[in-house]
């Protein structure tokens, strides 16, 4: 309980990192994109990568945004949404003051066109997974229709959306990949090289493999914002290089790994500029239930009892993680704060194994990537722990891309990985729904009628409180069934310079900042 109190305190402390100072107009924000050596695409529909959304959130806009201070989704391009009695038809009031960077005002037609573009099945846009919830979207994807029947323009700034399930559309239309784009600019071709959006900054320059520069959009719909004149997003995939650049005051923000987290916390000059948040990623050792020992719940529970998870988080992950209790992350609306994680109890693990018919343990192959936070180093730590209860682990090292393919094919006995688990609790738990195929994230092959019923009931419930209660029960069932070894929820850590203000502790991805709220004071060395 104490741990949750600390977490809550940290989240409250940093949510928004708002300060009492008056924001200064002007200056340059210098952020870093730390996940790869290049951006995938500046066309937000064409990329599912977190790296690209760092720029996407500045240049483009979506119907909803995540409000980090409030811990919820809020309307952005949508001003308000009202649902019909059956919960399937939503009427959107859209902003009438949002201008694309070419000077044209956004209307309902742009939303319809953007979503229709996303559903073009020949493109394979990742955002189709969200838009597919709109009635008739699948027909467009399959090439059986040209228009999404569930989208209807009422007037320029009113849109009706009919969905196929009772869902909160906010969860579906806040991802950067569902950005609203101007048709005329996209159809000119070469949009990825000249992106035009509705965001607070307009695109100026992209040096592939190095940086993106954007400038203040004067007609941005939030009065007085953005504060800064310029935004530079510098691609810096190497942690050591980021460290030098940050210490040399050449960048304003940097993502920290476990080793740097320790170093920065211990450095008096740097420890004041650390922003941390429980990100919506669950790290877990996924046990394939098609591999005989793991089809038995007792074996899976034994694995959870056999591993000293707290020790690994403390020593190896350097406390840059929160202990996972079940599948839903800390910041999920259906997270059960009272839930206790599996206790480290090797004797109980042995007993459970014996009851399951494995008194002498068994052997399994564990597929892993080299990732320092949830890959090979963690596997090396759990090998002796599992050996103590008789379970022998044969590690198999592969690249992350290969790991995904193996998981989707079910071509593993077990693998360790990181899973996006937020913020939509229902969608997150669907990874354990029996009808969800392995290709769509049921990597364990989980099949439990009681769980399915809870999810079905939740899906039919429009009342959010009741729905969350059902999802909490489903999450508790996952805890009990232990389809995986629950390892941790990622603690994302952003180092920031003392002259930058207004950063948000965004649990969906800490690098995704709403840059219109960020400002730099006169101490910034950037011109």
């Amino acid at each position: 309980m104490r741990k949750f109190a600390i977490v809550a305190a940290v989240l409250t402390l940093f949510a928004g990192v708002a300060d009492a100072q008056t924001p200064r107009k002007g200056g340059t924000i210098r952020m870093t994109a730390p996940y790869a050596a290049s951006f995938g695409s500046l066309d937000p529909h064409a990329t599912p990568r977190a790296q690209d959304d760092i720029v996407g959130k500045a240049i483009h806009r979506t119907l909803f945004n995540w409000d980090s201070a409030g811990g919820k989704l809020v309307p952005e391009l949508a001003l308000s949404v009202t649902a019909s009695a059956d919960g399937l038809t939503h009427t959107f009031k859209l902003r009438d003051d949002a201008f694309f960077h070419n000077g044209r005002k956004m209307t309902a037609d742009d939303v319809i066109w953007s979503f229709t573009r996303i559903m073009d099945g020949t493109k394979g846009f990742a955002a189709a997974r969200y838009v597919r919830v709109i009635k008739g979207a699948v027909d467009v994807e399959k090439g059986q229709a040209k228009e999404i029947s569930g989208l209807r323009k009422i007037d320029d700034f009113t849109l009706e959306m009919t969905v196929t399930d009772i869902v909160d559309p906010a969860y579906y239309f806040f991802s950067g990949t569902t950005a609203i784009l101007p048709k005329e600019e996209v159809e000119k071709g070469n949009f990825a090289a000249n992106p035009v959006g509705l965001g607070p900054f307009k695109f100026k320059e992209h040096i592939p493999g190095s940086r993106v520069v954007a400038e203040r959009w004067e007609k941005f719909y939030k009065p007085g914002k953005p504060y800064a004149d310029r935004l530079v997003v510098q691609i810096m995939a190497e942690a050591a290089a980021r460290d030098v650049a940050f210490r040399n005051k050449e960048i304003d923000t940097s993502i920290l790994g476990p080793a740097q987290y320790v170093a920065y916390r211990e450095d008096p000059a740097l420890k004041g500029g650390i922003l941390e948040v429980a990100e919506m990623f669950t790290r877990a050792l996924t046990l394939n239930h098609a591999y005989k020992p793991f089809s038995d719940k007792r074996v899976r529970q034994a694995v959870n009892h056999a591993i000293d998870t707290d020790l690994i988080i403390k020593r190896l992950v350097k406390d840059k993680a929160y202990r996972a209790t079940s599948w839903l992350p800390l910041s999920s609306p259906a997270y059960d704060k009272a839930m206790k994680p599996y206790a480290f109890d090797p004797e109980k693990a042995k007993k459970l194994l014996a009851e399951a018919g494995y008194p002498n343990g068994f052997e399994f192959e564990l597929t892993t990537s080299p990732n320092e936070s949830w890959g090979l180093p963690i596997v090396e730590a759990i090998i002796p722990m599992l050996a103590r209860v008789g379970i022998k682990v044969k590690p198999k090292l592969v690249e992350v891309t290969v790991l995904t393919e193996i998981a989707q094919k079910g071509d593993h006995q077990a693998y360790i990985g990181s899973n996006l688990t937020g913020p939509d609790s229902l969608a997150t738990l669907r990874c354990y729904y029996s009808k969800t195929p392995r290709t769509a994230c049921n990597y364990t092959g989980f099949n439990n009628p009681a769980f399915d019923k809870l999810l079905d009931d939740a899906g039919k419930t429009a009342d959010q409180a009741k729905r969350n209660d059902l999802l909490r029960q489903a999450n508790a069932l996952i805890h009990e069934e232990a389809p995986v070894w629950f390892f941790n929820y990622n603690k994302a850590v952003l180092a920031y310079q003392p002259w930058i203000h207004g950063l948000q502790a965004n649990p969906t991805e800490i690098t995704h900042q709403y840059v219109e709220d960020i400002w730099v004071d006169e101490k910034s060395p950037a011109k």
């Binding site: 790869a36 050596a37 290049s38 995938g40 695409s41 064409a46 990329t47 599912p48 990568r49 977190a50 099945g121 020949t122 394979g124 990742a126 189709a128 997974r129 597919r132 994807e141 399959k142 990825a192 090289a193 040096i207 592939p208 493999g209 190095s210 940086r211 510098q234 691609i235 810096m236 995939a237 190497e238 050591a240 290089a241 030098v244 650049a245 210490r247 040399n248 050449e250 990623f281 592969v398 690249e399 992350v400 891309t401 290969v402 995904t404 393919e405 989707q408 990985g417 990181s418 899973n419 996006l420 688990t421 990874c431 195929p437 290709t439 769509a440 994230c441």
Partner: protein, 311 residues
């Protein structure tokens, strides 16, 4: 000279075909695909039916031979296909990265030649001297240092401690941003050139014709100018050519470390995401660059030493 060039170019063709085939085969047998990578972290979650269709469109399910024939057919006419990742033509992606890469490689090579060759030359003229020992220590250290570590140390020293240069990035493409990555990349060929030059010069200095020249009373300066430089240059030139050609490939680590927008960082990202057309395009270009440089070196041989003939 023209005949040499034609013969050399004809030799290049089978090498290119072999490289094209090798690159194609390597990426065909490698596990993982661009499609599976789209679901990394559960982020993409592309519909299985769409994934299936994309696999078909990208030709990932076609028989190996069919894919190879298509690939060769396209490559011959200079079409490297579209990148899976950005959906843009690979030639366009490469075009954006080519000049920064060339600039980095040229600057590194310039540093390597300007420092390495004189260093080796001076060391060879006074073998066993303190200068010789010192220059060889520099050379061996330069060869042994990993580029990543060296790059970090350069950043630490020149950016963080001395505040002389920016630690990373492209800036406006000027000298300030180019210096550190060029040094990080150029130290190794510099060291190799110093050692090669020293060995080549020593070799020539001990040759019979040099002894003859000296015995005829030719001054030491004339001996060095007329005999040593010209003869040693063939070996030095070979080393320069080989290093120059391979630097484009070696630049990967340095470009990534310094956020330099060259082919190396494009190649790394493309490999990790299994963006096969982009990988094939980058590797092919690097190989062509290597072969082109070697051809130029061969031609230079003929110019320097007319006794050399290629048959």
């Amino acid at each position: 000279m023209l005949a040499v060039l034609v013969r050399r170019l004809l030799n290049v063709v089978p090498t290119l075909v072999a490289v094209v085939a090798l690159v194609f085969l390597l990426f065909s047998v490698l596990p993982g695909s661009f499609i599976s990578g789209m679901n990394e972290d559960g982020r993409g979650m592309v519909d299985p039916a769409v994934m299936e269709r994309m696999r078909k469109e990208m030709g990932l399910d076609d028989p190996l031979v069919e894919r190879f024939v298509k690939y060769v057919g396209r490559t011959v006419v200079g079409d490297f296909g579209n990148s899976f990742r950005t959906r843009e033509p690979v030639t366009k992606l490469i075009g954006a990265r080519l000049w920064p890469s060339l600039k980095l490689v040229l600057a590194s090579m310039l540093f390597a030649i300007v420092v390495g060759v004189p260093l080796g030359f001076v060391a060879a003229l006074k073998p066993g001297s303190a200068l010789d020992t010192a220059s060889m220590v520099v050379a061996i250290s330069g060869l042994s240092l990993p580029k990543f570590w060296l790059g970090l140390m350069l950043m630490y020293l020149f950016a963080l401690q001395l505040k002389l240069l920016p630690s990373f990035g492209y800036g406006e493409g000027g000298l300030a941003h180019l210096t550190l990555p060029a040094l990080a990349l150029g130290v190794s060929p510099m060291a190799l050139l110093a050692r090669t030059t020293r060995a080549a010069v020593l070799d020539v200095l001990n040759a019979d014709f040099v002894r003859t020249a000296r015995s005829k009373g030719m001054s030491e300066a004339r001996v060095v100018e007329w005999h040593v430089m010209r003869n040693a240059l063939v070996l030095v030139l070979t080393t320069i050519g080989l290093q120059f050609g391979s630097l484009m490939g070696q630049a990967v680590v340095v470009e990534k470390l310094f956020s330099w927008p060259g082919l190396g960082s494009l190649l790394v990202d493309s490999v990790f995401q299994r963006d096969i057309p982009a990988v094939q395009g980058c590797i092919l270009l690097i190989v062509v660059f290597f072969l082109a440089i070697n051809t130029l070196v061969d031609l230079a041989y003929v110019a320097i030493d007319p006794r050399i003939r290629y048959g």
